[in-house]
Symmetry: C2
Subunit: 230 residues, 2 copies
Amino acid sequence: MRPSDLPEIRHLPLFRDMLQANFEQLMQGAYAQSFPEGLMLIRQGDPADFLHIVVEGMVELFAEWKGRSASMTVVQPVGTFILAACIRDAPYLMSARTLERSRIIMIPASDLRAVFRRDVEFAVSTINELATCYRAVVRHAKGLKLRDSRERVAAYLLKRAAQAGQAEFDLGIEKRVIASMLGMTPENLSRALKSLAEDGVRVQGQRVTLWDRARLLPVAQPDPLLDGPG
Amino acid sequence: MRPSDLPEIRHLPLFRDMLQANFEQLMQGAYAQSFPEGLMLIRQGDPADFLHIVVEGMVELFAEWKGRSASMTVVQPVGTFILAACIRDAPYLMSARTLERSRIIMIPASDLRAVFRRDVEFAVSTINELATCYRAVVRHAKGLKLRDSRERVAAYLLKRAAQAGQAEFDLGIEKRVIASMLGMTPENLSRALKSLAEDGVRVQGQRVTLWDRARLLPVAQPDPLLDGPG
DNA sequence: ACATTTGATTGATATTTATCAATTCAAAGC
DNA sequence: GCTTTGAATTGATAAATATCAATCAAATGT
């Protein structure tokens, strides 16, 4: 593991408040590895042995059933994934693969479980992290049930623009992955984006410009209870 | 609060392992109340002040947006709801209403947050509870994305039969609520049930009989990663 | 027991979304 | 620079799902 990784990880909400000694112990048992693009990190159904942290690159979490596949989310640096499975000592519910060359830190699940029994602050951080993740999935499920695909696309674009802090931004993710995350086919996303042209959306390849936010807002009707805070 | 409530609550995974003194303190600050059918207990967006426990009756959690409404889940005795919002001290993501006359215990969120800082066992239980809830929603979202409505209905029926321990059981919930939970219209559910007749499903009002499980299985292809353990 | 209300079902239709096939486009490798 | 590959788009069609309206059934209250 690189020395520069430690402060970044330490700065995460999950590890921010724990005792230094315990943090060091967790990091002692952890190891880092680089993976090429398109590599399967985790296969759903496998036993959850490690908490994963993306320090570089990008990881797609997706689910499979009966030959079908659906993206659930994309994890970007610096972010953790599959905490819940580690805690429950249960099989992973989602598979994970790198979307680009990525560096991943892996912390043995048993270490985690041991440490939050000793360190209240870490326990509280874990509670907060899980509650946050839970709420994120609930919002996602709400979006799937309450909005149609065009509305989901509009909301997604507004969210990304807000994150970028600009009306113009790069998607940074393949459209077919975005489509799957939003619960639709690539063809449907393509058409949805085209039809949103009349609502102030301009798309050229990966580049998106929301040149008339006022027009797009009523389509998406963004709501913190669906799209998250901020 | 009735004296008979305490042992039931104490027996929940969330409260099972904590110190007796802390449990008593939580219960001291809690209060119980009975509500008639159809009453709004919680409105989404309101600040989360209380963890709710259903000791009698049935509560529907649902979400609203732009005049549309979608059921997320139904909570039955003895079960808790909206733990995550309490922990995050954030607005409720879901509304809640009674489906029948219900007795609810309410524990101030601030008490919860205070206690798990003092009681490691309660902290660990909270972590486990949240991880379990998180995984349940992930499975739900997976079902919405990977299965079509007919498959979701089939899987739901098989799950209910497994819970009942019998091939014949009562739904116990209005079909329109079930439909909304499964992400479909009542009409669509009605037709799906009808079409499942040829796959070993017999429905008469609230009564369901799966008289040919072997025929239904390939439709639903139940999977613990989608339908939960057990 | 009857009337009233509400939910469930059914049929007809519209809309949304997926699928399949063909083409265009863009990036990566040689 | 050219070729190759995979992604994105587009068009045509099919399938799934929603909507609307009418009827039927069941539960509730009087």
